[in-house]
């Protein structure tokens, strides 16, 4: 059975070029980049070359890049780091209801430390109202943290407009760009962003490496105290092979940003059109302002986990918007914040296309999924009780 991986918003395979670039740094080039001898000089140069590649992708200077262990660390360092430094100026943070837990849980933690957090709502497309964001600013506001692209729906926030508002009010602006990197153009100058978190494993680099962009002049309290690595912003001997991999992944992404996005969009759109032909299905997310690779779709009257299980048995890996598999039996906080009808929300399925997907993969999903939906609907009491006059609309 052919296996098809369409869960690239969860993680991606390491790209072959990335893997190849990393391997020498496990064996031949093993030096600690902080050492002054030949072994350290070699790896020190590789570290700085990787930094430059990451900086190039987002249009900043290499000195503004701090390597981290993951996207979550970047979000934590940005939010806690700024909150600690600016604590005397104010205790108010603005974020959104649909952030990744790396941001939401960090904000909840800060609430216990005396900070106040505003969670901005989103509309039915998962979109944010910039006027509402500006209206939420008080003289106590020290940080705005708004994600670039949503991991569940792919909805893209108007980051440039938010950046302009933050700059106008002289408030530090952090964005979690973990899903946006490599999929849409990300330019920290155009967007007037002060802090931006990246994760390697969403763009074909390994798991367990990331970077935080820290605009020159922005001060942060480190999360990890120790040696002088990363200009005292993040202690710990560098995970050099992974950092080299992150650099190459960023270089690859920058070299084909438009082309890759176009290929992904074409496949995603075909998948979307084909699946929307199933009656009473709907897209969760913005119709146009959306990552080119992401499709979050619901099929009324059935449950997402059952759909995923059938897909999995046919070798297709996708994921569920509902948290049914975890210990928390709620629906996704993102879909809930969008006000989606609960039964629709329960059937949300997310496809995240990636570099390795082909048109044939799309064909196969289009062949396999409609009969799964039919089978589960035939089993569902809600389907048999539905208001047929309404349902045919």
């Amino acid at each position: 059975m052919k296996r098809i991986y369409m869960d690239n918003n969860a993680t991606t395979a390491v790209r072959p070029e990335v893997m190849e670039a990393m391997l020498p740094f496990y064996k031949e080039h093993f030096g600690n980049p902080s050492s002054v001898h030949w072994a350290g000089r070699e790896t020190g140069a590789a570290l700085e070359a990787a930094r430059e590649k990451v900086a190039n992708l987002i249009n900043c200077t290499p000195a503004e890049i701090v390597f981290t262990s993951c996207g979550s660390e970047g979000d934590n360092l940005a939010i806690k780091g700024v909150a600690d430094v600016l604590r005397d100026r104010g205790n108010h943070i603005i974020t959104t209801a649909v952030e990744h837990p790396a941001v939401l849980s960090t904000c909840e933690y800060l609430t216990k430390q005396g900070f106040e957090v505003t969670y901005l709502p989103v509309d039915g497309y998962g979109m944010l109202d910039v006027a509402a964001l500006e209206a939420a600013i008080t003289d106590k506001t020290i940080l705005i943290s708004v994600m670039w692209a949503n991991n569940e729906t792919g909805t893209l926030f108007p980051i440039e407009q938010i950046g302009a508002v933050a700059r106008k009010h002289k408030i530090c602006f952090h964005t979690d760009a973990v899903q946006a990197i490599g999929r849409v153009p990300v330019d920290v100058q155009a967007a007037q962003v002060d802090l931006l978190a990246i994760s390697g494993h969403k763009i074909g680099a390994p798991k367990g490496v990331g970077a935080l962009y820290v605009r020159k002049g922005v001060r942060l309290t480190p999360l990890i105290h120790g040696g002088h690595q990363e200009r005292n912003r993040r202690a710990g001997t560098h995970n050099l092979p992974s950092i080299v991999g992150l650099g190459v992944a960023c270089e690859l992404a920058a070299s084909d940003l438009k082309g890759a996005a176009q290929r992904l969009r074409q496949m995603r759109d075909r998948l979307e059109r084909g699946l929307l032909a199933i009656p009473e299905s709907q897209i969760n997310g913005h119709p146009t302002e959306r990552l080119p690779n992401t499709l979050n779709i619901s099929f009324n009257y059935i449950e997402g986990e059952a759909v995923l299980l059938f897909l999995d048995m046919q070798g297709i890996a996708a994921s569920s918007g509902s948290a049914c598999m975890s210990d928390s039996f709620g629906q996704s906080h993102v879909i809930e914040a969008m006000g989606v009808d609960p039964m629709m929300a329960n059937s949300a399925i997310r496809f995240g296309l990636g570099y390795d997907n082909t048109e044939a993969d799309v064909d196969r999903v289009l062949e396999i999924l409609p009969p799964i939906v039919k089978k589960l609907r035939d089993m569902s009491p809600f389907y048999h009780e539905r208001d047929v006059t309404k349902a045919t609309a």
Partner: protein, 122 residues
């Protein structure tokens, strides 16, 4: 994470559907996840002659419905009333801890259908 039995019953659920003019109909909605099961019974001489179900739920819920239907078909009403949720889960070769509540739907919906039968014939 699911046992082979769960996968089998989920892939080929037994007794899906509805019985027209059923002798007893019952349903149960899970308080933890909102999933729902509906059970239809045909009863003759105190024995479950036929059973059908409709389930809105996860893989574990569908497999539990199917397993429950197999366990009670041909059994007396008393035997069916004695069926517990744990027995359904055990017959499936166990369920992962976060999915244990899913098997609760099955025996509960069955018991509701039996009560409905008993109330209408009493």
């Amino acid at each position: 994470m699911y046992s082979d039995k769960v996968i089998d019953h989920f892939t080929n659920p037994r007794n899906v559907g509805e019985i027209e003019n059923a002798d007893g109909v019952g349903e149960k909605v899970s308080s933890s996840c909102g999933d729902r099961m509906k059970v239809f019974l045909k009863v003759e001489d105190g024995v479950i002659k036929d059973i059908k179900f409709q389930t809105y739920g996860c893989g574990a819920a569908i497999a539990s419905s199917s397993m429950m239907s197999e366990l009670v078909i041909g059994k007396t009403l008393q035997e069916a009333l004695d069926l517990t949720n744990d027995q359904v889960a055990d017959a499936l070769g166990g369920l992962p801890a976060p999915k244990l509540h899913c098997s609760n739907l099955a025996a509960d919906a069955l018991h509701e259908a039996i009560k409905n039968f008993q109330a209408t014939t009493a």
